[in-house]
C-alpha cells in the first residue's frame, strides 16, 4: 500500500555504500553518483576499499565502501554519514561511529544471521544495541532473498544471481532519493552490453529494489536533493587520476609536444597509466615498464628526445625514483613526476590517503637538488595542476613533482569541460628560443637561468649531457670547486626564479581575520568547509591554500605575516609548516596534524580552530 512520503529538503546528503569487498559496493556507488550528477547534483565521492582484493567474507577487514556526497556546494565526500547501506554486520560495525543522528541504516537482513554476527565479532544478537545505535532509522530488508526471487525465471547460476544484490540496494537508495531509474538503466545496458542477460538481470533487480522501497516502508524519511546552481557549460564526471591524465594531454597539445608516460602499476596511481595507455588515439605514448626506476628512466630518455615526459607513482615508487630525479635535476631536463600520496612509510596503507610525501618530494635526493613541487587541491583541480606542472617543466627545463593523494585521485566530481583557449600558452624553452651566436648546451637565459633544450635528433645541436657536474661555461665535465659552487647556486636560482611565473597565494576571507588557516593539496575541500562553518558561527577566520609549494608564491611572506594567528593543517607531522618556517623569517604558527590515513573531519577542524581562537 502506498503511503505518504515524507520529503526533506536538505542541502546535501552523504551516502555510504558498504559491504564485503565482493559485494559490488563500488559499482552501486559509482552508478548512484553518476545518475545524481546527470540529474543536476554536485557530487563528490570517496571509494574506501581494503588492500586485500578479497579479504575473508564477512570479516571486518574485508569491508569495502563507496561514499557519495550529493547536493550543492560540495567540496568533499563528507565526514558523517546520512545513509549507510550495510550489506553485512561487519559493514555496520566498521562504519557505526560515522553515523549522524537520525541517519538511515539500510541493511540486508539475510546477512545478519548468528554466523554472520560471529564473523564480525559481535558478542550479542542485537547489533544495533551493541553498537549503541539508538537514534537511527534502521531499515532491514531481505536483500539477498528478494534478489533471488526477483531472478527466479532467469537462466543464471545461483552465484551470478546472488551477485546482483548490490543492484537491489541501489534501487532502494534511488527510491530514497527520488531518483528515477532511466539513467541507471542506460548505464547498466552500456556496462553489460556484451552480456545482455546480465544487463536484464541487473536492471530488473534494481527496479524491484526501487519498487520494494516504494511499496513498503514509511518509517524512514526520504530526501530530495536541491539541484545545484552551477555555471553554464558542458559537464562530465572525472576522478583525480583521470583529470591528471587529461591535464598532461592538454599541456602536450598546447605545447605542440608528444606526450610520453613511463610508469609502473602502483596503488593508488595506476589509473593515470591506465587512462594514458588508452589515449593512443590522441598520439600519447604511454608504456608500462619493468619497475618504477625504468618508468622514470624511460621518461628521462623521452625528454632527452624532445617529448613532454612524465612518470606516475605513489610514495614507495617516488623513493625508488629518487636517483633518477637527481639525474633530471643535474642534466636539466623537463619532466613531470606525479606522486599520488598514500599512507606510509614503506608499504604503509596503500589504499588510504595522506600528505606524508611532501618532505620526500622537497628533499628526498642526494646533493643540493632543487626542483619544483606543486600540489593539486581537488579531483577536478588535478587537471589544472597537471597542466601547470607540464608548463613549468617545459618552460623552465626542470623536473616538477606534482603531489596528489589517494583521496582526490579516486574521488570524483562533476567537472566543467574546460575551454583550452582560456589556458595560458606553453612555450618550451628549446633551442628555437636561442638568439645568441653559437649554441652550446651550457648556455642559459640570463634572467631565468634556464638552459636551451635541444631535442636529440635536431641537426646542428648534437651534445652530451649526464649526471656529472659540468663546467658553467663549456658544459664539459668539471670537478673545479669554484665552478661547483657556482653550478649549485645557478640550479637553485633557476628554481627560485619560478616564483615570478606562478600565481600569487590567494586568501579567502577578511584581511583582519583573527586566524589564518593554511593548508595545501587535497585537504582543500575540508579546510574550506571548516572555514565557512567557522564564519557562519560568528568567527572571523581566513583561509590560504598552497598549490605551489616550491618555490612558494612571491607574496607568501607578506600574506602569512599579516595574521596574528596562523594554523597550518596537514595530514602529516608538519611538512609544510617546517618548509614555511624555513623560508619565512619571523613566522609563528601552530600545527594541526592528523595522520590516520583518512580525510580530515570538518567537525574536528572547526573544534580545533575554535579552540585556537580562545587562546
Amino acid at each position: 500500500m502506498l503511503q505518504k512520503v515524507n520529503v526533506q529538503n536538505v542541502k546535501d546528503i552523504v551516502i555510504l555504500f558498504s559491504g564485503d569487498s565482493g559485494d559490488g559496493m563500488q559499482l552501486s556507488g559509482t552508478i548512484f553518483s553518476n545518475i545524481s550528477a546527470i540529474l543536476g547534483d554536485e557530487i563528490a565521492t570517496f571509494p574506501d576499499y581494503p588492500a586485500e582484493i578479497r579479504a575473508p567474507q564477512g570479516s571486518l577487514s574485508g569491508v569495502s565502501g563507496f561514499q557519495v556526497h550529493i547536493g550543492s556546494d560540495i567540496y568533499t565526500p563528507g565526514d558523517k554519514v546520512d545513509v549507510l547501506v550495510a550489506m553485512n554486520p561487519a559493514a555496520l560495525k566498521v562504519n557505526a561511529h560515522r553515523l549522524k543522528k537520525n541517519s538511515v541504516i539500510l541493511a540486508d537482513s539475510d546477512s545478519f544471521e548468528q554466523k554472520d554476527l560471529e564473523k564480525a565479532l559481535y558478542k550479542t544478537n542485537d547489533p544495533l544495541a551493541e553498537l549503541g545505535l539508538t537514534d537511527v532509522q534502521p531499515l532491514f530488508v531481505p536483500i539477498t532473498s528478494m534478489t533471488k526471487k526477483s531472478l527466479e525465471n532467469f537462466e543464471m547460476s545461483a552465484k551470478d544471481k546472488d551477485r546482483c544484490k548490490n543492484m537491489f540496494a541501489l534501487g532502494l537508495v534511488c527510491w530514497l532519493f527520488n531518483k528515477t531509474l532511466d539513467a541507471a538503466n542506460e548505464i547498466l545496458s552500456d556496462k553489460f552490453s556484451k552480456k545482455p542477460l546480465l544487463a536484464q538481470a541487473n536492471i530488473k533487480v534494481m527496479a524491484d529494489g526501487f519498487n520494494y522501497g516504494q511499496n513498503t516502508d514509511a518509517t524512514v524519511s526520504t530526501y530530495r536533493i536541491e539541484t545545484a546552481n552551477t555555471e553554464k557549460g558542458f559537464y562530465t564526471d572525472v576522478n583525480g587520476n583521470t583529470a591528471t591524465a587529461y591535464g598532461l594531454i592538454a599541456a602536450a597539445e598546447k605545447a605542440g609536444k608528444e606526450l610520453f608516460l613511463g610508469s609502473y602499476p602502483i596503488t593508488p596511481a595506476t589509473d593515470i597509466l591506465q587512462e594514458l595507455v588508452k589515449r593512443k588515439d590522441l598520439g600519447v605514448k604511454a608504456i608500462q615498464m619493468e619497475d618504477e626506476i625504468a618508468g622514470i628512466c624511460t621518461a628521462i630518455g623521452a625528454s632527452f628526445a624532445g617529448s613532454l615526459a612524465a612518470t606516475s607513482t605513489s610514495g614507495p615508487g617516488l623513493a625508488l625514483k629518487s636517483e633518477a630525479i637527481g639525474l633530471a635535476v643535474m642534466a636539466e631536463l623537463p619532466l613531470v613526476i606525479i606522486d599520488v600520496q598514500r599512507g606510509g612509510p614503506s608499504t604503509g596503507l596503500p589504499t588510504k590517503s595522506e600528505q606524508t610525501d611532501l618532505r620526500q618530494a622537497l628533499y628526498g635526493r642526494n646533493g643540493e637538488s632543487p626542483l619544483v613541487v606543486i600540489a593539486a587541491s581537488s579531483a577536478t583541480n588535478c587537471f589544472d595542476a597537471a597542466y601547470w606542472a607540464s608548463k613549468i617543466a617545459l618552460e623552465h627545463i626542470t623536473p616538477v613533482i606534482l603531489l596528489t593523494d589517494g583521496f582526490i585521485a579516486n574521488g570524483s566530481s562533476a567537472w566543467k569541460i574546460p575551454n583550452m583557449d582560456e589556458y595560458p600558452a606553453i612555450v618550451p624553452h628549446n633551442v628555437s628560443q636561442y638568439e645568441g651566436e653559437s649554441w652550446t648546451m651550457a648556455q642559459r637565459d640570463k634572467t631565468t637561468n634556464v638552459r636551451y633544450w635541444a631535442e636529440a635528433g635536431t641537426e646542428g645541436y648534437t651534445h652530451r649531457i649526464g649526471g656529472l657536474e659540468r663546467d658553467f661555461v663549456t658544459g664539459s665535465i668539471s670537478t673545479d670547486p669554484v665552478n661547483h659552487q657556482k653550478m649549485v647556486n645557478v640550479r637553485q636560482e633557476k628554481i627560485d626564479y619560478i616564483s615570478n611565473c606562478i600565481p600569487d597565494l590567494e586568501v579567502m576571507g577578511d584581511e583582519n581575520a583573527d586566524l589564518l588557516i593554511v593548508g595545501w593539496g587535497g585537504t582543500y575541500g575540508h579546510l574550506r568547509e571548516a572555514t565557512e562553518k567557522m564564519n557562519v558561527n560568528g568567527n572571523n577566520v581566513a583561509f590560504a591554500h598552497f598549490q605551489f609549494i616550491n618555490p612558494l608564491p612571491k607574496n607568501t611572506k607578506e600574506v602569512l605575516l599579516k595574521y596574528k594567528k596562523v594554523v597550518v593543517a596537514e595530514q602529516n607531522n608538519g611538512h609544510l609548516a617546517g618548509h614555511l618556517l624555513d623560508k619565512i623569517d619571523g613566522l609563528k604558527l601552530t600545527k594541526y596534524n592528523k595522520v590516520e590515513g583518512q580525510p580530515f573531519c570538518v567537525e574536528d577542524l572547526v573544534e580545533y580552530f575554535t579552540e585556537q581562537l580562545k587562546n
Binding site: K232, K280, D291, G301, A305, L327, T462
Partner: protein, 344 residues
C-alpha cells in the same frame, strides 16, 4: 693500433663521430678500441651524427658518450637500458646505442637489461665485459670467474658468474654477437650487423682492463692462442677453425663436438653450417656457451640474428592505427564524446 686500412662504405669518416673531448681511459684499455670501432662502424653505416644517440650508465666504459660527436647521455648506474628505451620509443628514427659494462649491465642494471632484450627494443647494446669493476678499483663483477681473487674477494669469489649469452637467450633475445677488443675488423663488422638488426642487439665485447684484470681474456685474445681457441661464426658458412683451418664443429647427439676434418671418418660435410637466422635458439645457446675451458673454441661473430617484432615499431604502429581512426581528434573532442551533460 692501425685501423686506417678499413674501407669506408659511405661518405662519412670515422672522425666525424669523434667529439673534441680528451679520451681519459687508461693507456692500453680495451675501451679505446671499442670507441674506435664504434666510430668506424657508424661511418660505414653512414649515420648522420645528429640522428644518433649514445646512452650509457656508470662505469669506465660508460664514459663513452662524451667521446662521441652525436647526441650522448651519461646517465645513472644500471639504468642506461631504460633511458635508451625511452629515447627510442619517443624518437624511433634515431639510431640508439647503449654503452655498458659487465657491472652496470648485469649487476645493478640486470633487470633493465633482460627486459630491454625481452621487449626487443631496437637498440644496440655494447656490453664491454672485462670481468671486473674498474672505476671503483678492482672489485669482482657478475662475470668474474669463480675463485678469482679481487679487492672484494680476497679469498676468491664463492659464486658462479653470469654468462651474458645465456641471459640474452633466456630473455628471448633476437641478436647476440661476441667480439674481442683487439680484432678491430671483425668488431666493426659485428657492430654494423648489430645496428642493422631490427630489435635489441647485444654485442659482448671481451675487453681488457690493464690495471685491475690484465690479460683476463688472454686465452682467446693472444695471437698464438687465438686461432685454436676461437671460432668466427658467419651465417651460411661452415663452422671451421684452427691454425690450419682443419677443425670443425659437428653435432653429436644433443651435443656439439670438435672434430678434425679428415680424421675419425669426419669430412667437411659433417661440419655444421651456421644458421644465425634460425628462430629456435637452442643451437645458438650451445654455440654461445662453447669455451676453451670445456674443450671448445669460443664463438665470435654473430651467433644469433633472428627476426622479431621490435617494441618501438609496435608502439608506433598501434599508435598510428588508433590515430588513423579519428585523425585530428583533440582532447576536447574526446571529452565531448563521453558522458556529458549541459547546464544551461
Amino acid at each position: 693500433m692501425d685501423i686506417s686500412n678499413i674501407k669506408m662504405a659511405g661518405e662519412r669518416q670515422a672522425r666525424d663521430y669523434k667529439s673534441d673531448q680528451n679520451v681519459r681511459w687508461c693507456p692500453g684499455c680495451g675501451d679505446h678500441a671499442a670507441l674506435n670501432v664504434l666510430h668506424k662502424a657508424m661511418a660505414e653505416l653512414d649515420l648522420k651524427p645528429h640522428k644518433v644517440a649514445v646512452i650509457s650508465g656508470i662505469g669506465c666504459s660508460s664514459r663513452l658518450p662524451y667521446y662521441m660527436n652525436t647526441y650522448g647521455f651519461h646517465t645513472i648506474h644500471g639504468r642506461g637500458a631504460a633511458v635508451a628505451t625511452g629515447v627510442k620509443v619517443a624518437k624511433p628514427e634515431l639510431s640508439v646505442w647503449l654503452a655498458t659494462g659487465d657491472g652496470d649491465c648485469l649487476a645493478i642494471g640486470g633487470n633493465h637489461f633482460i627486459h630491454a632484450v625481452r621487449r626487443n627494443i631496437d637498440i644496440n647494446i655494447l656490453l664491454l665485459n672485462n670481468k671486473i669493476y674498474g672505476l671503483t678499483k678492482g672489485q669482482y663483477s657478475p662475470t668474474t670467474d669463480r675463485g678469482t681473487i679481487t679487492k672484494s674477494s680476497p679469498y676468491g669469489t664463492v659464486e658462479d658468474p653470469f654468462r651474458p649469452v645465456e641471459l640474452a637467450m633466456g630473455a628471448r633475445g633476437t641478436f647476440f654477437a661476441r667480439c674481442i677488443d683487439v680484432d678491430l675488423k671483425n668488431a666493426t663488422d659485428t657492430f654494423v650487423k648489430a645496428a642493422k638488426h631490427k630489435g635489441a642487439s647485444v654485442v659482448e665485447i671481451l675487453q681488457n682492463c690493464v690495471i685491475f684484470n690484465d690479460n683476463v681474456h688472454n686465452i682467446v685474445v693472444d695471437k698464438s692462442l687465438r686461432d685454436d681457441n676461437t671460432i668466427l661464426l658467419k651465417h651460411g658458412e661452415k663452422m671451421i677453425f684452427g691454425k690450419d683451418k682443419n677443425k670443425g664443429i659437428v653435432l653429436d647427439g644433443w651435443n656439439l663436438k670438435v672434430v678434425t676434418i679428415g680424421a675419425d671418418g669426419y669430412t667437411l660435410d659433417h661440419v655444421l653450417t651456421h644458421d644465425a637466422h634460425a628462430t629456435d635458439n637452442t643451437l645458438h645457446l650451445k654455440l654461445g656457451l662453447m669455451a676453451p675451458e670445456n674443450g671448445f673454441p669460443l664463438a665470435l661473430g654473430v651467433i644469433r640474428d633472428a627476426e622479431g617484432l621490435a617494441y618501438d615499431a609496435e608502439v608506433e604502429r598501434t599508435t598510428n592505427e588508433m590515430k588513423a581512426k579519428n585523425p585530428n581528434m583533440t582532447l576536447n573532442d574526446l571529452l565531448m564524446k563521453g558522458n556529458v551533460w549541459e547546464v544551461k
